[in-house]
């Protein structure tokens, strides 16, 4: 560890936003005292719609949102767990458009299939803040207030750089990708491929996809069986990474992994010098 503050070690933002925007770091967004005082008197109510509430990322996100809203006397009145189900998300947003909430924070699951429900929520007069991505065609100002996201492109590049150290010359690296049209994981994979293409053109890339979390283990096994000499795997986030790690371990296979999101399990595995060799994640500030 070093003694630098988060501000000193903050990396530059590599990725661009859903409309090519240059992002503003979270620590540079401030409420003026006047706005804060006004927010305190209004006692806003906010609902949160998440893809899942079981992952460590979601728990941390939820804790951060609840604490920050609390500073301004805003109440987090409902947390919806969509369990990665598009229909559940559409139903939740449709219902919230009729409920007495001032704003909704939502992570769109997938792309085109959830766009209309998000747009309708804004049309109903509620403010909408999106996490991680904006469905294609939705516009800031008209369809949503803003997007808050990690630098998915930068995380993908970091994971490639960390995995590269474990891939011998002319070796093969695997990508365990998410088989759903989802901006954040797309960006990570594009960035991973770009880094490898420009820094390690000797490495052969192979890829398997999983559509549901339970498919991550079998997909990783299949990739190992199909690719003799596979030297490492990049999984697009921590939960499928650990499912893959367990599936490989059960079959007596050990491979270096890198992944995104600082969940407890991947952190423990890395600290124990397990298969997880690197984690791309950002400071919460």
């Amino acid at each position: 560890m070093n003694s630098k503050t988060p501000g000193d070690t903050a990396m530059s933002i590599a990725g661009l936003g859903p409309h090519g925007e240059r992002a503003v770091p979270a620590d540079q967004i401030q409420l003026t005292p006047a706005d804060a005082a006004q927010a305190l008197t209004r006692r806003f109510s906010v609902a949160l719609v998440l893809h899942t509430t079981t992952s460590d990322w979601s728990k941390q996100e939820l804790a951060g949102i609840a604490a920050t809203l609390g500073l301004y006397s805003a109440a987090l009145v409902e947390v919806v767990d969509c369990n990665f189900d598009v229909d559940l998300q559409v139903a939740a947003l449709t219902r919230l458009a009729r409920e007495p909430v001032d704003a909704v924070i939502s992570i769109p699951i997938g792309n085109a299939r959830v766009a209309a429900a998000h747009r309708d929520l804004t049309l109903s007069g509620r403010k909408l803040v999106l996490l991680d991505n904006a469905p294609t065609g939705m516009l800031p100002g008209t369809d949503y207030a803003s997007v808050v996201s990690t630098d998915n492109f930068g995380l993908g590049q970091s994971c490639a750089a960390m995995l590269s150290a474990h891939i011998p010359p002319n070796g093969a690296a695997g990508i365990l990708g998410y088989g759903i049209d989802f901006f954040a994981t797309h960006e990570r994979e594009i960035a991973f491929r770009k880094w490898m293409g420009s820094h390690r053109p000797d490495v052969t890339l192979v890829r398997e996809r999983f559509a549901e979390l339970e498919g991550a283990g079998p997909a990783a096994l299949e990739m190992v069986q199909k690719t003799p000499g596979l030297s490492g795997i990049f999984a697009v986030w921590d939960v499928p990474a650990m499912k893959a790690v367990r599936a490989l371990a059960q079959n007596g296979i050990e491979l270096p992994f890198t992944t995104v999101d600082l969940g407890n399990e991947v952190a423990l595995d890395m600290a124990r010098r397990g298969m997880i060799k690197g984690i791309g994640a950002q400071f919460a500030v």
Partner: protein, 443 residues
């Protein structure tokens, strides 16, 4: 099969082929644009007989261009079945290349973006690198999102694009990007995917994008101004993009402000330079801190500082806004737009100070009638407008009646005989270039 059908029908009556293609094209465009969707409406709008309409619709259903949709409004008797254009019969690849970023997307045949991706890229890394990157991401996006095979590519480039002499003829990119001189960028990309390619300047596609899906939706007269390292404008007048005699309309960055070009006093580079000077000599405490933290400054930092109330930056952006507004005012008086949309990195970062400066100058120097209902807004679409506009360019080109008649009987523009010939010519010249030089080779 459908091809045979169209051919058989024309045996012994050569002129009817043209007539058949023309009626097919007419009906397809009526359905596609939503002008007429029931058989009755189609008969009325096309002035074709019932049997002809029925035959042409059947042909297009067979070709996969149309499908029967839901029941429409009954006007006495049975409710009519509505025809629908199959916007998923093919896809359009679109890209906008800028000085410091590239944007890519896939759109359906109505020009609706289905997926998009933006990433930082330096134009001066050369055409080969950019071409390779575009091909890699297009391949990946097509495979990953399981979209139908492409029918065309729409490309936005940072500079004016000359009008091609004939259909499917690509124009050299050299006017646009000096360092790309002689590089067959458009030809290579067109050959790589085996589809026709259409290019416009970035500001023209952005203007079209704003008119289709942004602030200009539903308006027929708008001006779009792109404020980046360079400054240029696009004009839609009475619903049509104005390209100019050479395709170079809108170079307002070349207007004079005193002794200098507008671009040289209000472009992103000069704003960054002035910010740097203010950070170094202490006129802007915020920028001094940002410079110490990051080691460099861009227009994004200056915009952010202005939003946080840094007086130097508020003043700087306001001044730039007024200079841009002064260049826009004569244009506003000339074309009487309903809306001016301001986009580009300076507009995105510049925020309210910049917009206030532009408004001040435009409203002050415009005729009262011209400015009465004139709105001046900041783009919400960002770089997506370039992609939406590029898709719109391809849609307009592929479905232009004259072009459409050339391919409609074949089911896809990729099979258009003129394009196929063009593709052969391009492949032949590429092969000739790749071949080793004849004659003696020096040891």
């Amino acid at each position: 099969m459908a091809q045979e059908k169209a051919t058989l029908r024309s045996v012994g009556r050569p002129r009817s082929v043209d007539a058949a293609q023309a009626s097919l094209a007419l009906l397809l465009n009526l359905v596609r644009t939503g002008a007429a969707t029931t058989r009755q409406e189609l008969e009325r709008r096309s002035e074709l007989g019932r049997a002809v309409v029925a035959d042409r619709l059947a042909t297009m259903i067979e070709l996969g261009l149309l499908k029967e949709g839901e029941l429409g409004q009954a006007t006495g008797g049975r409710a009519p079945r509505q025809m629908q254009f199959r916007q998923d019969a093919g896809s359009l690849l679109v890209s906008a290349i800028d000085q410091s970023s590239i944007a890519l997307g896939i759109a359906d045949l109505n020009g609706q973006l289905l997926v998009e991706h933006h990433e930082a890229a330096q134009l001066d890394s050369g055409p080969e690198v950019i071409l390779d990157r575009l091909a890699t991401i297009f391949d990946w996006l097509l495979r990953e999102t399981e979209k139908p095979a492409p029918w065309g590519i729409g490309l936005a480039l940072p500079g004016p694009i000359e009008k091609p002499p004939t259909d499917f003829e690509t124009v050299p990119v050299l006017q646009t990007v000096q360092t790309w001189q002689g590089f067959p960028f458009l030809e290579r990309l067109s050959m790589r995917f085996g589809v026709p390619i259409f290019a416009r300047s970035g500001v023209q596609t952005m203007t079209m994008g704003e008119a289709k899906s942004g602030g200009g939706r539903g308006l027929s007269d708008i001006i779009y101004v792109k404020l980046g390292r360079s400054i240029s404008a696009g004009l839609i007048s009475e619903g049509r993009l104005h390209r100019g005699a050479q395709g170079a309309a809108g170079m307002i960055g070349h207007s004079r402000v005193g002794e200098d070009l507008l671009e040289a006093v209000a472009g992103a580079d000069v704003i960054a330079r002035e910010g740097m000077a203010a950070a170094e000599d202490g006129r802007s405490p915020y920028l001094a801190q940002a410079l110490a933290r990051q080691g460099e400054l861009s227009v994004v930092d200056i915009g952010h500082a202005a939003q946080l109330g840094d007086l130097f930056c508020v003043d700087l952006l306001g001044r730039c806004g007024r200079m841009v507004g002064e260049a826009l005012a004569p244009l506003t008086n000339l074309v009487n737009p309903a809306l001016i949309v301001v986009g580009g990195v300076v507009a995105e970062s510049g925020g309210d100070s910049l917009l206030a400066g532009i408004r001040e100058a435009v409203y002050r120097q415009s005729h009262p009638m011209v400015s009465r209902d004139l709105q001046i807004i900041r783009s919400q679409m960002g770089a997506s407008s370039g992609l939406v506009g590029a898709a719109q360019v391809v849609v307009e080109e592929l479905f232009a009646p004259a072009t459409l008649q050339g391919w409609i009987g074949l089911g896809s523009p990729v099979r258009h005989p003129d394009f196929q010939k063009r593709l052969e010519r391009m492949s032949a010249s590429a092969a000739a270039e790749a071949a080793p030089p004849a004659g003696r080779v020096a040891p």
